[in-house]
Symmetry: C2
Subunit: 340 residues, 2 copies
């Protein structure tokens, strides 16, 4: 026997006033209302269990109270950490947040973006599937404020606000760490993807080698798809007779696979092979020896993305500078100093 939710009209009737008055009582607008009347309205609302219908309110042009974030992988802690931060900032500002996973599929993303447009969300943080800009354009057309997260858009695209981190630097720093420890033959393990992030990390790797006057050996750059098994495969293929160190530039579950693959070959780190990992999985200091890592700024990114978006929601023409956060070196025990 689902009775209907009480509306402003019910409250008006019960408190013997008009809907306008009730509306004003529940809005931030300052229209003076006799304390006595205001009290009566509040009382009636309380008794009826009235809650303002944000849906109807937004039809009149008021903010919806909903933000969205679109990510390519739900199961990647890098993204969930960012989302957690976004949700936290949004919550404090009175918004709820819709989280959507595209599985890095442009088609899936297209459906999702349409749905969000249809829902008239106030704004959106999007890490574009495969770095494509197609669905971003939909957001543009419908005037939904958005912030692009982590992946730069390829090709001709509108001006956009961006929050990301320095992938070049992470590749560079990881490689430099190994070079400084005296390594010369350094492998780079990544994944196959059209997005720039991995490419940037690889550029950082190459730049560091270059700076040290070392030629890049393409055989030591291993790429595979995103999975734990791929990590295992790469560990199996690793030319450990030539290489003394490696940069793990891929995802946590690939990295996990790589470590397991190493175990399987009875290879030990740092004795047989030094390792620097880009990223900070929960287990970085639990494995033994602990891993030397490059920490990415998940929280900072989440916080920045959310606050930039909130500003844009308030002022649609608001433009922020690009936020590209630096990474941070985290010491560990997986790098061995080379003798000599």
């Amino acid at each position: 026997m689902t009775k209907k939710a009480p509306t402003i009209k019910d409250v008006a009737r019960k408190s013997g006033t008009s809907t306008a008055t009730v509306s004003y009582v529940f809005s931030e607008k300052d229209r003076y209302i006799r304390p006595e009347l205001r009290e009566r309205v509040l009382q009636a609302a309380e008794e009826l269990g009235y809650v303002k219908n944000a849906v109807a309110s937004s039809l009149k042009g008021n903010p919806r109270g909903i933000l969205a974030v679109i990510i390519p992988q739900f199961s990647n802690n890098f993204f969930t950490d960012i989302c957690a931060e976004i949700e936290s900032v949004a919550q404090k500002a009175g918004f709820v947040v819709i989280i959507c996973n595209t599985d890095d599929s442009v088609e899936q993303e297209e459906k999702i973006v349409k749905r969000l447009v249809s829902q008239k969300i106030d704004g959106c943080i999007i890490c574009p599937a495969l770095s494509t800009s197609k669905n971003i354009k939909t957001l543009d057309i419908h005037n939904i404020p958005y912030v692009v997260l982590e992946r730069d858009l390829e090709g001709e695209t509108p001006d956009f606000d961006f929050v990301g981190h320095d992938n070049f630097q992470s590749g560079y720093l990881a490689t430099k760490t190994l070079l400084d420890a005296g390594h010369r033959n350094i492998a780079f393990l990544g994944w196959t993807t059209p997005i720039a992030n991995l490419r940037d990390r690889l550029s950082g790797y190459k730049a560091a080698l270059d700076e040290a006057g070392i030629a890049v050996n393409d055989d030591w750059i291993l790429l595979d798809n995103l999975s734990e098994d791929a990590g295992k495969r790469m560990a199996a293929r690793l030319p450990v007779d030539k290489v003394t160190a490696m940069v793990l530039a891929h995802h946590y579950y690939m990295a996990k696979g790589t470590l397991l693959g190493l175990q399987k070959r009875a290879l030990r780190y740092p004795e047989d092979l030094s390792i620097v990992l880009i990223g900070t999985p929960e287990w970085r200091d639990l494995v033994h020896p602990s891993l030397t890592c490059i920490k990415r700024p998940e929280k900072e990114m989440g916080r920045a993305a959310a606050s930039v978006l909130l500003k844009k929601v308030k002022k649609p023409l608001y433009r922020e500078k690009r936020h590209v956060f630096p990474v941070e070196f985290m010491t560990g025990l997986s790098v061995r100093d080379m003798p000599g």
Copy 2:
């Protein structure tokens, strides 16, 4: 110069027909419309970039297309795994999902629930903060279909749909595993909480001991708050001269802390201490030796919660049975057979 989004009216004008016709073209309702006209409408909509406004539509009583899930911890993989599954199921059914984190605070939850009510969401999956039913009642009052996740409600509460897993069994199974390996003096590490889950695990532990004719020693039941540091503290307090095994019944980061604390005391498992962990952190098979675990049914729970909710959204009076999923034993190398 943000031009307004095109509405049904614009499409009607452009295609020279009425708003009613356009509405029918974009609805599932079957009203016959001349193919020629239908085509013209579609054409106009396409050109204008028209997307139906779900907000206005829902004002007329149509489903909103939004579900919500309320969890007490965003950073806990147990919950994010469940959420990932919920999102996936919801997405296939055409819904987007709002994810809210309460930090296990009843006050925060209250705000969130009010917001969701105000947003007129179609339904909600809630893991109630501290197992309290107060905010659930708000959902009831406003006729929002909901499914209670993982934590049973305490006290007098309305009839509700529930999806969870067998916490008693996980405590029992973990303990039984150690008993079967010949252990007699088994510690139980948990956290301080009013919710039933930990209590149930503890009951399972006690039941297993009881069954084996072993008295419970309260000194071996260690509880602390939810943090990695608390895990370290418990490891430090552990009476390893008396105890030969332990059940880790707490969260991943506590478990991590406990393992780190063990390392600090130079205690090795399973030699010095056998371990069974409730839960399956990503690192369970990465640490060495790999951990013997009790796997909880995150995916099944997520999937069940989402599908039950979707059924309730369709049919508000729909009632499902309680879903309490079993846990699963996962073999590892952290349990040593006791001699004798």
